[in-house]
Subunit: 226 residues, 2 copies
DNA sequence: AAATATTTGTCCGTATGTATC
DNA sequence: TGATACATACGGACAAATATT
């Protein structure tokens, strides 16, 4: 029995603004009408309008500035990770496993492209990150920052923001549920060192093998838990 | 020079509530404090608090009901597609290509699992969808609904919500930029019919081939555009 | 450089609708 | 039925940041 009228105003306003952006083909840098104008146009109070428009701002679609107005943003890969994260926290842990599985498929699927894309500078960066991991005190804390930086570096040259957003979000899940995936530090560092070694040797099959080792390790552990 | 103090209140409140949910380990079905309580707790007006909390509601993290309060939701794969879509509209068309590329990698990566997971009922559904495509008037309109339904059906049994969210989001991009990928209807239907044929024949290598045909077609066209 | 207008940021108060007991 | 708790929605007011003249 879900009535059309039952929908809350701020939901409708949100949809209205969304379709406004589409129908007016607004691009990065373009301005939206002012709050007053939109409120009057839609026949709602400024308060309700703001509830909708602030959603757009918080998730990263627009930026608002006093005295200026609201401007459409360019793509920002961070928002997706926070969105994903926000949804994950409200639910059970199974999603973390699903997210990891998708990440595994993606990273293996992009293996060839990433292998071909990396230059010496990137490989040096990767080696440095592994070195830093060895000096890192514990698995918690900044060790995880090194881990994500490692994977980001691998796909940086591909310039695929959607891929980057996903790698980030998967990482964010892992970070918050790290106890589930807690593992031996030496093994974890070794998994990354193998990737670097394969890159230095310019051996793609070895690279793929290292990646599979990296992900299979988690994967098997996950399956055994069930 | 981005000062910490320069941050707007509703951003900070949004972060506060986010970490509140995490630190209190709120799960699906749990209740948040009332608006008044949270506003007082954080020392902000109810207005600002609502701008933050309505963001959480609109992106699907919580649901609010008058007389009840705010309840944490379970995962909803729809929100991700709308987030993705919202970010895409603000930027150039390159992201559509990136999104398609990710989708291709994902669908091919999950091919084996999806092939093994499908039962007769699913294959019948797929065939019916292809039949409907043949009766569909045009590439626009409900033809696209049949297309996404086809792909959803393929991965339904895997129960991976993250995968589903991505397939959905990629589809939503495609729908809005369909002119870019406009193509011959007969060829498009044939691409799906081949997938069904392979499933009926229980021939995995044929299935994989059909999938590659399905995606390569777009892929090549995309490359040629550059 | 200074005054003014524009636009968003933040707050308050109040009335209404809806679910629960 | 009534009372209570809570979210929904509106309007007004002033502050702060930015742009314009």
């Amino acid at each position: 029995m879900k009535n059309i009228k039952s929908k809350k105003l701020y939901f409708k306003v949100f949809e209205e603004i969304k379709s406004y952006i589409v129908s007016h083909n607004l691009q990065s840098g373009d301005r939206l009408p002012t709050e007053m104008e939109m409120a009057e146009l839609l026949g709602v109070s400024r308060n309700v309008l703001r509830e909708a428009i602030k959603t757009l701002e918080i998730i990263g679609v627009v930026t608002s500035k006093p005295g200026v107005g609201m401007i459409v943003n360019s793509f920002n890969s961070n928002f997706l990770s926070s969105c994903m994260f926000l949804n994950l926290i409200g639910d059970n842990k199974e999603l973390v496993g699903q997210s990891q599985e998708v990440r595994t498929v993606m990273e293996l699927g992009f293996a060839k492209k990433s292998f071909d894309s990396m230059i010496k500078e990137d490989i040096d960066t990767l080696q440095k990150l592994v070195d830093d991991m060895n000096f890192s005190e514990t698995l918690n804390g900044d060790y995880y920052l090194l881990d994500i930086e490692f994977h980001r570096t691998m796909y940086k040259r591909l310039q695929n923001h959607v891929l980057s957003a996903f790698v980030d979000s998967a990482w964010e899940c892992e970070r918050y549920y790290k106890s589930m995936f807690a593992q031996n530090k030496e093994i974890n560092i070794d998994k990354h060192q193998r990737i670097v070694d394969a890159l230095v040797a310019k051996d793609y099959s070895k690279y793929l093998e290292a990646l599979e080792y990296h992900f299979n390790y988690n994967y098997k552990a996950k399956i055994q838990q069930k």
